[in-house]
């Protein structure tokens, strides 16, 4: 009895996915690092706008926690469903490499978007901004506020997220080459909760009473580090900043606990991802910089790394934070 129910369920899923694969329009899937955070919701809004304008079908589905195995499972389910283009923001390059290779063998176009897996067989990386530009911009803006000497702590999300590791490396490199008196005192990794980010930021301030800044690498860390600065009564003494979406940082940008935040516009990134997906699915090629209708800045093409670059990072301050909603 139990088995027949399971079989019927599995059969239903197979039928449903079969019907899915038979439509003629180009089908584009995007797999974010986690479902449900405002950042990827904004990306979906941009992607859906492009999908509507270009007449393609767009599906976005991600894991409920930053779990590489779940992400791989979702990737493989899109391969099974026969999508034309699969874009992914990888959590863990190693676990995805063989799956990406298999998808390519089946003729599926695979892009990375938002984060990269440079050693995989993905065709292009649709990049929001170069990791180096982001790392440099965050530290440069921090130095403008706290001066070019002093201690800085970094609070990041899971250490398996490659893009965040790259940003940390870029910040460290910039500190060594341009600001020798800036010292990165710690790099801690949370489990994605605001409570842990709060804890790490508070502990860093306790350990280093002369701490100048706490930098958050993920939107998941931002409310926690800014709250820690507020709760310690350290607004004006310790700067919190990071790669934080305007919505998660807005209150703290206005209170002064987080004077600025560095990021890009994810809606534009989603738009560009779908545009590139449609372009490639229609047999188009990419050999040079692109003018994408619907985007303000031209898209740079970096052929040696296969990167399509959205534009320079954006800095959100009290003056412009209300212009964004993600």
């Amino acid at each position: 009895m139990k088995r027949s129910v399971l079989l019927a369920g599995a059969f239903g899923i197979v039928i449903a996915s079969g019907a899915w694969a038979q439509t003629d329009t180009t089908q584009v899937a995007f797999i974010p690092q986690i479902a449900g955070i405002p950042y990827y919701v904004a990306m979906r809004a941009g992607a859906e706008r492009a999908a509507e304008e270009l007449g393609v079908e767009y599906v976005q589905e991600g894991p409920v926690s930053t779990n590489a195995a779940d992400q791989l499972r979702i990737f493989e389910s899109f391969v099974t469903q026969g999508f034309d283009v699969i874009a992914i923001s990888p959590l863990d390059e190693e676990s995805l490499k063989p799956a990406i290779a298999r998808a390519r063998e089946q003729g599926i176009i695979v892009l990375t978007s938002d984060a990269d897996a440079p050693n995989s067989e993905r065709q292009f990386f649709v990049a929001q901004a170069l990791d180096q530009d982001l790392g440099y911009t965050l530290l440069d803006e921090t130095v403008k506020l706290v001066g070019d000497s002093g201690k800085i702590a970094i609070v990041s999300d899971s250490p398996t997220i490659q893009s965040m590791q790259n940003w940390i490396a870029a910040i460290q490199e910039r500190a060594e080459t341009s600001y020798p008196k800036i010292e990165i005192v710690s790099v801690d990794h949370t489990d994605g909760t605001a409570a842990r980010a709060y804890q790490f930021a508070t502990d860093a301030m306790t350990r280093n009473p002369d701490l100048k800044a706490v930098l958050g690498m993920a939107s998941t860390t931002c409310p926690g580090i800014a709250q820690a600065v507020e709760a310690a009564g350290a607004i004006g003494e310790v700067v919190s900043a990071g790669y934080c979406s305007p919505n998660t940082a807005r209150d703290y940008i206005k209170s002064g606990a987080m004077p600025f935040s560095v990021l890009w516009n994810p809606a534009d990134l989603g738009y560009l991802t779908v545009w590139v997906a449609d372009h490639l699915a229609d047999g188009g090629e990419i050999a040079d910089d692109l003018e994408v209708p619907g985007l303000e800045a031209p898209v740079r093409y970096l052929p040696e790394d296969g990167i399509l670059l959205l534009g320079p990072p954006a800095v959100f301050t009290p003056a412009n934070v209300d212009d964004y909603d993600f």
Binding site: I37, P38, V64, A194, Y198, Q199, T202, D203
Partner: protein
């Protein structure tokens, strides 16, 4: 603790100890209920999910403009209801608690995503923050919150007939049934009490951090179970200590804090806590074998 104090001059400062306390409040509150459930011979891996759902309801209630006096009871009632649901499921179906609550955890987390529709709830009012961040005559408010919760839990467990029923069910469920103890009711009540405490923890969490993120409650169930067992509870039921659980909570939070202050990578903390948990369980098993 001595080790951390010797490794970092900041560890034993008043400010740091208050910080550790503030960061412990939600876990400590949940552990009081977890201890009772483990003494009962149960376990609840869904408390993170209960905390998350309660927090979402609290966030939505604030957004709807309700005052604290309504928001906090709504959040706590949500937790109690979900806990009672766990208890009902376990008592009626006789499904092992770890499996039943694993199932409900998935449902609660899914509910969280469905309900908040992919956005964080942020910028909530801080009118209840004093419960965690404030102090009364120089004593951190968290001490009173934890004290009140543990006093109630202790009274229930050690001074009321209900507590003796919990211990009886946890020691030998079959015998408890034979002597006429309402086993099912006791189970439902114990799980509901844990859920209620998870609801209180949600109120405190939102009061402290003023936002509800989609990862809320991620590790708290495992931390609570670890703290309770480190505190001397027997995972097979019948035995457990509220004071011990509180020490377990302190141990986990002090380890998290102390490693950071000593400049050790935070990646080691789970190794330390997991390792110690294994040591405790192995010692327990060896002792049992020796005695038997």
């Amino acid at each position: 603790m001595v080790l951390f104090a010797s490794q970092s001059e900041f560890f034993l400062t008043e400010r740091n100890l208050v910080t550790i306390l503030r960061n412990s409040v939600d876990l400590a509150v949940i552990c009081a209920g977890m201890t009772i459930v483990i003494i009962l011979g149960g376990i609840d891996v869904s408390v993170g999910g209960i905390l998350a759902v309660s927090a979402v309801i609290i966030g939505r209630a604030y957004q709807a403009g309700l005052p604290d006096i309504l928001v906090a009871p709504i959040g706590i009632a949500t937790g109690a209801a979900l806990g009672a649901f766990n208890g009902l499921l376990i008592a009626r179906t006789r499904v092992p608690p770890i499996v039943a609550t694993l199932g409900t955890m998935y449902i609660f987390i899914a509910f969280l995503f469905l309900f908040i529709g992919g956005t964080w709830i942020s910028g909530l009012p801080n009118t209840l923050s004093f419960l965690v961040l404030g102090d009364v005559y120089g004593i951190p408010a968290g001490v009173f919150v934890i004290g009140a919760v543990y006093a109630v839990a202790w009274a229930l467990l050690r001074r009321m007939p209900w507590g003796r029923r919990v211990i009886a069910v946890g020691s030998d469920e079959g015998a408890a049934r034979l002597v006429g103890i309402p086993v099912n009711r006791t189970k439902i009540e114990a799980f509901a009490f844990l859920g209620l405490l998870a609801g209180i923890a949600a109120v405190l969490y939102v009061a402290r951090l003023r936002n509800v993120e989609v990862n809320i409650g991620t590790n708290i169930a495992l931390e609570a179970i670890a703290a309770t067992i480190l505190g001397g509870a027997n995972i097979r039921g019948g035995v457990g200590s509220l004071a011990g659980a509180l020490l377990g909570v302190l141990f986990i939070k002090v380890t998290q804090n102390g490693l950071v202050l000593s400049g050790v990578s935070s990646l080691w903390e789970t190794v330390v806590i997991g390792g110690l948990l294994l040591v405790v369980l192995v010692l327990d098993a060896v002792e049992k074998r020796g005695a038997g």
